[in-house]
């Protein structure tokens, strides 16, 4: 089977990925990185998990009715990813741009498996994904992420809190149960796919400094 996720890509651009649970601060880190890269004259393109127009409609409909099973949830996200890879990820990489992905296939490996989808099946499913030049995992304890989400008064969403699994009727409780399973999966993914880890309990500036160092190594080793 063609396994591009296991093979370094040969496109002229660079693909950098951030991973982490909700409230890990990865989106903040990615947008700071984007500002810095742009200021340094790089051409940057950002793509987010589950954002293709076509699939959004189905996901929304399914979510509204709480009609998604772990399997259809997983397949919908894979469909979204296939669509974005074709239109949003590969073309900028071919054009020699830097693609920044807010969540990648690893999110599916963590979340879908936490929902009970087969671990090997979901890995085979995403074997067509382009291998990132660098994937950074922002590791944070659940309590910290929960504090951040609550402080921002973000209403926890049904699926993000794993409410579809029926583990707890209490949103916060359910979030904790679900995200702890997600964290366990990430711990497995990190060595398996060679993700770099950033301690996301540290200050935003400290994390950003470390993140930029990691990215710089990939820019210098093979300038775009």
């Amino acid at each position: 089977m063609l396994d591009t996720l296991a093979t370094p890509h040969t496109l002229p651009g660079r693909l950098f990925v951030v991973e982490g649970i909700d409230g890990s601060g990865k989106t903040t880190q990615l947008s700071l990185l984007s500002k810095w890269l742009t200021a340094n004259g790089h051409r940057v393109f950002v793509t987010e998990w589950n954002s293709s127009a076509l699939v959004k409609a189905a996901t929304k409909a399914g979510k509204k009715k709480n009609a998604l099973t772990p399997m259809t949830f997983s397949l919908l996200h894979a469909t979204d990813f296939a669509d974005r890879q074709l239109y949003k990820i590969i073309p900028p990489l071919k054009a020699g741009m830097i693609v920044l992905a807010d969540r990648y296939a690893y999110t599916a490996f963590a979340r879908d498996v936490a929902r009970g989808v087969d671990r090997q099946w979901v890995r085979d499913l995403y074997s067509f994904a382009v291998r990132p030049n660098l994937a950074v995992y922002f590791r944070v304890p659940i309590e910290t992420s929960l504090d951040r989400l609550l402080a921002r008064r973000i209403k926890m969403k049904f699926y993000e809190a794993g409410m579809d699994m029926g583990w707890s009727a209490n949103t916060t409780e359910s979030f904790k149960i679900f995200q702890s399973k997600v964290l366990d999966e990430y711990d497995r993914i990190v060595p398996e796919y060679g993700l770099e880890v950033v301690d996301a309990r540290r200050s935003i500036t400290e994390q950003q400094r470390q993140f930029r160092e990691m990215v710089t190594a990939h820019l210098e080793s093979n300038p775009t």
Binding site: M1, L2, L54, V55, A57, A58, A61, G62, A67, L68, T69, P70, M71, T72, L75, L76, A78, T79, A82, D83, L86, R115, G116, V117, D118, Q120, W121, D124, L125, S127, F128
Partner: protein
């Protein structure tokens, strides 16, 4: 592959009928369910729906509970697939995955519950259509087989086989050739008739390649509706007689 009633019913890709082909749904383990899946495969225009309608009637008269499930008919995905087809913006992988999602939805919400309750599930096309279409479009054959590892192996798979020329005439007499069934998305040319024949020929090749792998029972699609139906009933009847579990109500007088 053979029409012989003595065929080994266990030879469905080395998988026991009624069980998952590969990595199934770990959260939905399959028990020894009393229901049965009978899949009817074949390209559009070969007469699947007519055969299924007649078979269903016959089964119900004999006292079997029957439900039908059909490709792209899930409430979750049907609107999205229609949208995708009409906007013609989908690439091959996205299409394959949308179909898989539709199948997963029907598997979990229609097929598995029906199997538990002892119904006969008549599937108007099954995963083999998706595998054939993906094959023609150059999708990795191992990848798509892994993908459909969550599908349950049917107890019987009938394949209504027809050559591209006979099919072309039949389709022209009924509804005409559609964009998708003619493989126009493959952009092999502007002539829909030529494209249709080339595409259907390739599909037939793909089905033929799967025939042994999954244990298809091949029926000659050029035969009359009645003679196909007779053969179907004979084989289904034989299978059900040897399979007590699916018996829900049997009316001896009929």
């Amino acid at each position: 592959m053979s029409d012989s009633p003595a065929q080994d019913l266990g030879a469905h890709g080395g998988v026991t009928p009624g069980q998952y082909y590969g990595h199934g749904l770990p959260y939905a383990p399959i028990g020894d369910y009393p229901g049965r899946i009978i899949a009817i495969e074949g390209t559009d225009g070969v007469g699947r729906s007519t055969q299924i309608r007649l078979l269903r009637e016959w089964l119900e008269v004999r006292g079997y509970g029957v439900i039908e499930t059909g490709w792209t008919r899930s409430p979750l995905m049907a609107p999205t697939i229609e949208l995708a087809k009409s906007s013609n913006t989908l690439n091959k992988l996205t299409f394959v995955l949308l179909y898989a999602c539709d199948f997963a939805d029907r598997l979990e919400k229609e097929i598995i519950p029906a199997l538990k309750a002892g119904f006969i599930v008549l599937a108007d096309r099954y995963i083999y259509t998706a595998i054939a279409r993906a094959g023609v479009r150059g999708v990795d054959s191992q990848w798509i087989r892994q993908l459909y590892g969550f599908a349950i192996a049917p107890h019987l798979i009938f394949y209504l086989k027809i050559d591209a020329d006979a099919l072309a005439r039949r389709v022209l007499q009924t509804g005409g050739m559609s964009y998708w069934e003619s493989g126009m998305d493959l952009k092999s040319g502007d002539d829909i008739y030529d494209s249709f024949r080339a595409y259907q020929r390739q599909l037939v090749k793909e089905y033929a390649a799967m025939s042994d792998e999954f244990g298809f029972r091949v029926l000659e699609g050029r035969k009359s509706i009645n003679s196909i139906q007779e053969e179907l009933r004979r084989q289904v009847g034989e299978f059900l007689e040897g399979s007590e579990a699916a018996t829900v109500v049997r009316t001896e007088s009929i």
